[in-house]
Symmetry: C2
Subunit: 290 residues, 2 copies
């Protein structure tokens, strides 16, 4: 149980967390915070939060758990604002997609990484954003990764872990660097590719006519390119090392495929495509809703 939860950033991620915890009455009170008063009013109207503050310093007052659900680029500023007003026993966690960058910001603002800060990342979401896109089952059976470091208090990890389990998620603990590399491969790189593909088509002559012949496969492939551009700009900057690393490996493989296509190397094409289909089918077995 959390007596008073503060959710800073009441969008898809923060709003869905609040709603999922309400389902099981896990919080005495939920305080929302955002720069946008109208978003907060909407969130209160929808019953996502009990009350709100537009000032993070005011919002965290008396809260036992604080969740930072703001875009990566806003993390430093919010940490600075809440620092003087955090309760002595408050536990702070975040939902950022790149953990090294968040931890650097925390260390910068607090002088060192405090034991009560638990880096976290719910691996869930949709291409939509904002509190209107939030829903209580977003985290049901979805992975949430916590990446505590040496100084992180085990008791703080337990509090954050309990919160996410009550939100419906499967919690696991992972090395921070490993998290950033894995997510660069499974999430950040696909977003970069989808954005770059759609942009390539958009920059072609008569691009509107080209898009007319984009069918269902294209729609699914590019769904993530409908995601919030500012959020993904922030993630690319925050996790740039790991993204560039896996992107360069991908570029090497893509160049091999280009050569195989140019040379009509059927054997190589079939090998790669078959290996890829096999890996994808193992992860998302055909027949089930895929």
């Amino acid at each position: 149980m959390i007596k008073r939860l503060c959710v800073i950033g009441v969008g898809l991620i923060g709003g869905s967390l609040a709603r999922s915890l309400r389902r099981v009455q896990y919080c005495g009170e939920i305080v929302g915070c955002s720069r946008h008063r109208e978003h907060l009013e909407r969130a209160r109207e929808m019953g996502v939060i009990d009350r709100f503050e537009t000032d993070p310093a005011a919002a965290v007052k008396g809260c036992d758990v604080v969740v930072l659900a703001v875009p990566m680029g806003a993390m430093r500023e919010v940490l600075k604002r809440i620092k003087p007003k955090l309760a002595a026993d408050a536990i702070v966690t975040d939902v950022g997609s790149a953990k090294r960058d968040v931890l650097d910001a925390v260390a910068e603002v607090f002088g060192e990484v405090p034991p009560w800060f638990v880096p976290g990342h719910p691996v869930a979401g949709t291409e939509r954003s904002g509190v209107d896109a939030s829903f209580p089952s977003l985290y049901d059976d979805r992975p949430v990764v916590l990446t505590p470091v040496a100084v992180t208090a085990p008791a703080a990890v337990r509090v954050v872990s309990d919160m996410w389990e009550n939100a419906g998620a499967r919690v696991s603990v992972m090395d921070l660097q490993r998290h950033d590399e894995v997510l660069a491969a499974t999430s950040h790189l696909p977003h970069v590719l989808a954005y770059t593909l759609v942009d390539t088509l958009a920059r072609m002559d008569q691009s509107e006519a080209i898009f007319d012949f984009a069918a269902g496969g294209f729609r699914d492939f590019t769904r993530i390119a409908a995601s919030d551009p500012a959020m993904w700009r922030d993630i690319c900057v925050a996790n740039s090392d790991a993204i560039v690393q896996v992107l360069e490996v991908f570029q090497g493989h893509l160049e091999e495929i280009r050569q195989a296509i140019a040379e009509g190397d059927e054997q190589r094409l079939e090998t790669v495509f078959t290996r890829a289909k096999g890996a994808r089918d193992r992860r998302f077995p055909p027949g089930r809703q895929s």
Copy 2:
């Protein structure tokens, strides 16, 4: 109306065409043909076809319309087999994803492109294949592109166009070269990227653990990588010029993005991501089922 339709290749595409035409009783008889007797038996059992032949030469006998729905790589061989047995007034069309290659095969087998051959391409499909994956509404409101050339008989184009309209599709006529370029961009390149991405992850250390953290965005992005590898090998070879051309443009844009990420160029990232989201939202408006 078609008196006797021959569908060579009774899989997702050919099977769905037969089923969509049955809905409106557009054919007196539908004859199926495939190398695999068990697929044909299954198709007859399901009521997709009336009867079958495993020999294309026998299958086309007395048919007024013949649809070649075999993989691109099998096209030449099938054309050779049916050549001596086609009825004098038969009209032949195909469903291949790359039209120049099909037309080259036709010209090679028949000495020249005959007026009764109508190159066609239904821009529809799923990642599944085989007659069990076929369904009657696959073509409803989906684009079918016909790419007749100078010698193609307008009357033959009308017959094929009527057939597809009765299957539920929206038929348009496009320049053959333009078709191959547009489909390279909207369909073939996305498949190449999806296969290459999944393969890149599959070749990493501890790849199974990496895939555990692949969420909904990854699932949608890579759905097309579950497509039949042999079919896509054939398409890559058949449309290699157009695919390599658009792939090289994409590679240039991807390298620009890599540099922007490496340099933390937020402005450039936001510009590209915003332009991409705008183009994608125009094609598939958010809020509707996307």
